[in-house]
C-alpha cells in the first residue's frame, strides 16, 4: 500500500469544512479529474453511505463505487473506494486559531500491471502527491 498525505490551513470553522467534504457531490469541484458523482444513498452523511464516481485517468473513464467508512463530525471523515483498485481517503479537521487545519491522507493499492504501464512507482507517487496538493489548494479556494 502506498500513502500520500498533506495539510492546509483554511480560514473557516471545522464544521464548515467537514460539511463541505461530507457532501460527495461537491467533490467534482475540487478533486482534479473527478467528473461525475451519482447515486448518493442515503442522503444524510453516515457510515455506510455509498455513491458512484467517474474519474478521468489519462483520457480513460474509470468508474467505481465508494463507501463512507467514518463520519465523526466535525473531526474526521473517511471513505473507501470499494470496487477496483482499493483506496482509503481520510480527512481530518483540527481547529487552528479561527480556522481549520485540514489533513488529507490517501492510502491506495498499486496493482503491478499499472506499475508496468507507468514504468515507475516513483512517478505514480509523485503524480498522486501533486494531485493531493492540488485537491487541498482547491478546497481552500472554494471555502474561503
Amino acid at each position: 500500500m502506498a500513502v500520500v498525505s498533506g495539510s492546509i490551513d483554511i480560514s473557516v470553522p471545522p464544521q464548515k469544512a467537514y460539511d463541505f467534504i461530507a457532501t460527495p457531490e461537491k467533490a467534482t469541484a475540487f478533486i482534479p479529474g473527478l467528473n461525475r458523482i451519482s447515486n448518493v444513498a442515503p442522503a444524510e452523511p453516515a457510515v455506510g453511505r455509498t455513491w458512484d464516481y467517474e474519474f478521468n485517468w489519462f483520457g480513460l473513464v474509470v468508474a467505481g463505487q465508494s463507501r463512507c467508512s467514518a463520519a465523526e463530525s466535525p473531526g474526521r471523515y473517511q471513505f473507501q473506494t470499494v470496487t477496483g483498485n482499493r483506496s482509503t481517503w481520510t480527512y481530518r479537521f483540527e481547529p487552528n486559531g479561527t480556522g481549520t487545519r485540514v489533513t488529507l491522507e490517501v492510502e491506495y493499492d498499486v496493482p503491478q500491471s499499472i506499475l508496468a504501464r507507468v514504468a515507475s512507482e516513483g512517478a505514480l507517487a509523485k503524480m498522486n502527491e501533486d494531485r493531493g496538493r492540488e485537491t487541498l489548494a482547491n478546497l481552500k479556494a472554494l471555502l474561503e
Binding site: 469541484a29 447515486n39 467517474e54
Partner: protein
C-alpha cells in the same frame, strides 16, 4: 470498477470562449439532437456548489433545436475560486446525471 472511453449519457459541450481577469466570462456551446433540461442541470449544480443565493454568478442559456449557447459570468471570489466554479459548472453541463 469499469474502464471506458467515455462517460455514458454525457452531453457534448464545447468551450467557445474563456476570459479571466477581474471578472470571469465563459461561453459554451452544447450540440444535441434532443432538448436537455438545462434548468434542472444548473439548478442542481448551483445548489450543490452553494451558489443558489450567491450574488456574482450569472448563468444564462439560449436553446435552439440542435444547439444551446450557455453564458457564465462570475464577478466575485478569487481567480482560482472562479476557475473552479466554472469548471464545476462545465462538468455539470457535460456529465451530470438527470
Amino acid at each position: 470498477m469499469s474502464i471506458r472511453l467515455y462517460h455514458r449519457g454525457s452531453r457534448f459541450v464545447l468551450v467557445l470562449r474563456r476570459q479571466e481577469g477581474m471578472v470571469s466570462e465563459h461561453r459554451w456551446l452544447a450540440l444535441h439532437f434532443s432538448t436537455h433540461r438545462w434548468a434542472h442541470i444548473f439548478d442542481t449544480a448551483r445548489k450543490i456548489l452553494d451558489l443558489s443565493d450567491e450574488p456574482g454568478t450569472e448563468l444564462h442559456w439560449t436553446s435552439d433545436r440542435y444547439w444551446t449557447t450557455i453564458d457564465l459570468r462570475l464577478t466575485q471570489g478569487s481567480l482560482r475560486k472562479r476557475q473552479l466554479i466554472a469548471t464545476a459548472l462545465l462538468k455539470a453541463a457535460r456529465y451530470q446525471v438527470l
